[in-house]
Symmetry: D2
Subunit: 161 residues, 4 copies
Amino acid sequence: MSLRIITTGGTIDKIYFDAKSNYEIGEPMVTSILEEGLATVPHVVQPILRKDSLELTDDDRQLIYDTVAAAPEQHIVITHGTDTMPVTAAKLKSIQGKTIVLTGAMAPARFRITDSIFNIGCAVAAAQALPAGVYITMNGRIFEAGKVRKNLELGRFEATE
Amino acid sequence: MSLRIITTGGTIDKIYFDAKSNYEIGEPMVTSILEEGLATVPHVVQPILRKDSLELTDDDRQLIYDTVAAAPEQHIVITHGTDTMPVTAAKLKSIQGKTIVLTGAMAPARFRITDSIFNIGCAVAAAQALPAGVYITMNGRIFEAGKVRKNLELGRFEATE
Amino acid sequence: MSLRIITTGGTIDKIYFDAKSNYEIGEPMVTSILEEGLATVPHVVQPILRKDSLELTDDDRQLIYDTVAAAPEQHIVITHGTDTMPVTAAKLKSIQGKTIVLTGAMAPARFRITDSIFNIGCAVAAAQALPAGVYITMNGRIFEAGKVRKNLELGRFEATE
Amino acid sequence: MSLRIITTGGTIDKIYFDAKSNYEIGEPMVTSILEEGLATVPHVVQPILRKDSLELTDDDRQLIYDTVAAAPEQHIVITHGTDTMPVTAAKLKSIQGKTIVLTGAMAPARFRITDSIFNIGCAVAAAQALPAGVYITMNGRIFEAGKVRKNLELGRFEATE
């Protein structure tokens, strides 16, 4: 069992540059989260994008799709901005024979208070435990692709119908 | 789907009392970890013991067994000291029809650097995703009860044979 | 001995709003920093502005001046954005009979890695220990108003002369 | 202006060893606290003891005395366990011509919630700002040696009239 962790940006990796007073996307934080979690599970981290998920284009989603499809591993975690995470998840549904889990964070991993570490834990376990398919792990829950949305007012993910 | 989270003590909940210069077991930290993780997964937290796992007696393990067996939920997470976590896991194997996941931490959840948040994330997802059985999630890996030990020198869990 | 702590905004208090993907100024963090520091020193916290210091107007600086001048306390700490902290410090120099210490942070207090707690500690002690005058405490150093600048390239404060 | 920071152990530097389930004294944390505080103030860190302050002997206190007396710097910070910090402070009072500030922490610097960063900030500024003498900075306050005690019930330092 080996995991491939593909990073695409999003709030989880946001960093603050003082001079500009705005966030930009930094180095993937999943690496330090796994270190702090004392993770010994075999894995590779593959950064492919550094974007807010509202700015992901069709080409970007195709790149994510192609990267997952070409991965030799069967177990895939994708870190992704939350706003369009359900869109990317739906796009990946046609990939067969892989367990693909998307996650991200509502508060940056560089914050003292953040959901990112818990979310990565959920995703790493879900990618190993679930049957082939595409899923989102947020809020300690496991959602199937195509049956999940982000509730913007509550800032939480929820199942549709 | 609802989770029952049973807490038994262990390093994850250790607290430091200045006057005595030693650790004792504090309030279960899983509650604040789930809050910070923005968890909306339905769950109850049930504290039953506050012990270092080296001090767990046969009676204590029977209490854990009985508590799990009596739980109305099918999905169970147990926080537990690491030293005898494999012993307790093995003891629970005869419980049928439940997915039971034990986890804990090498460094207390009250530490700035701790594996506890990541581990709880792994356990929460694994308890929802895995088929009935007894498991340990540590180091980002999922171990089956009876096939896992703690490597004391490395401070890591590993599969046996 | 009683301290008045006047907050004006700046990076130290910046907060991240997910929906908008940018920082804004939040509640003054000095209150929680003092709590975590177990501070028993008598003090009041008085928030008067919530601005990035690049956006402070002449009227804002006059408000800071008037607030300090009117304070019944002799010992004053001001939290302030770093970019124009030396400008405000120079403006306050004509206030007599008070020890006035400005500080702030290069990384928000809500970050896991931040200089804000250390800086507030320096300012609180300096405001009690120094003779009347206007000072900046940043980088563990004490600078006199009018003899300090922010080195933008290095992101550090340094003495002019 | 250059600071000498002498470390003697105490809660601030305590570390937890899982196998033994008790604290011992680790590497001085003042170094990482100064780094995180972006401190550019010239300083040297000199570790001389790693003891709980209840275990300090007369010989240990003589070592602290001799180290301070021999230091080429005029500005001295000493990190020290809290329980006998006032005893050591009183012992150092006969050293002339130096500003000596003792501090420590009620909660270890390795904890997520700790007063250690704030306390080090206070001590670093106080050692630069105060006239020659021996002081303790705890709880955001500055106490003179010989006029301070630790209130064990409250876990706070207070002046003796």
